[in-house]
Symmetry: C2
Subunit: 63 residues, 2 copies
């Protein structure tokens, strides 16, 4: 079952991101995605991969 991302308002996206951090799950989500990409489970483009690593570093520096 493919979860389609509905069109979300900026406020809805902010709310999702806030819940992620409130539940201490943001870094796990990013790490999981990076791992999936690195072990070939997911396709990726280099630009997105770099952004994920930068995002990981940013979140990590705040934990």
């Amino acid at each position: 079952m493919r979860a389609v991302q509905p069109v979300l308002s900026l406020e809805e996206k902010q709310l999702l991101v806030a819940i992620l951090f409130r539940n201490h799950f943001a870094i796990e989500l990013v790490v999981s995605e990076i791992n999936d990409i690195e072990c070939g489970k997911k396709e990726f483009d280099l630009c997105t991969y770099k952004k994920l690593v930068e995002l990981y570093d940013k979140i990590r520096s705040h934990t």
Copy 2:
């Protein structure tokens, strides 16, 4: 350990939200937050609670 939400760019927030949906986790996250609020595990304000329920309905209608 309190996870502080770093200041994220809009692009970083979009990336986090995209990963949530890519991993079919958005609806679980919202449901978990609503449950925590409804069973008193988390403080909330009514406005945020209503937005969470609306967000749930929106995501649900796309799955």
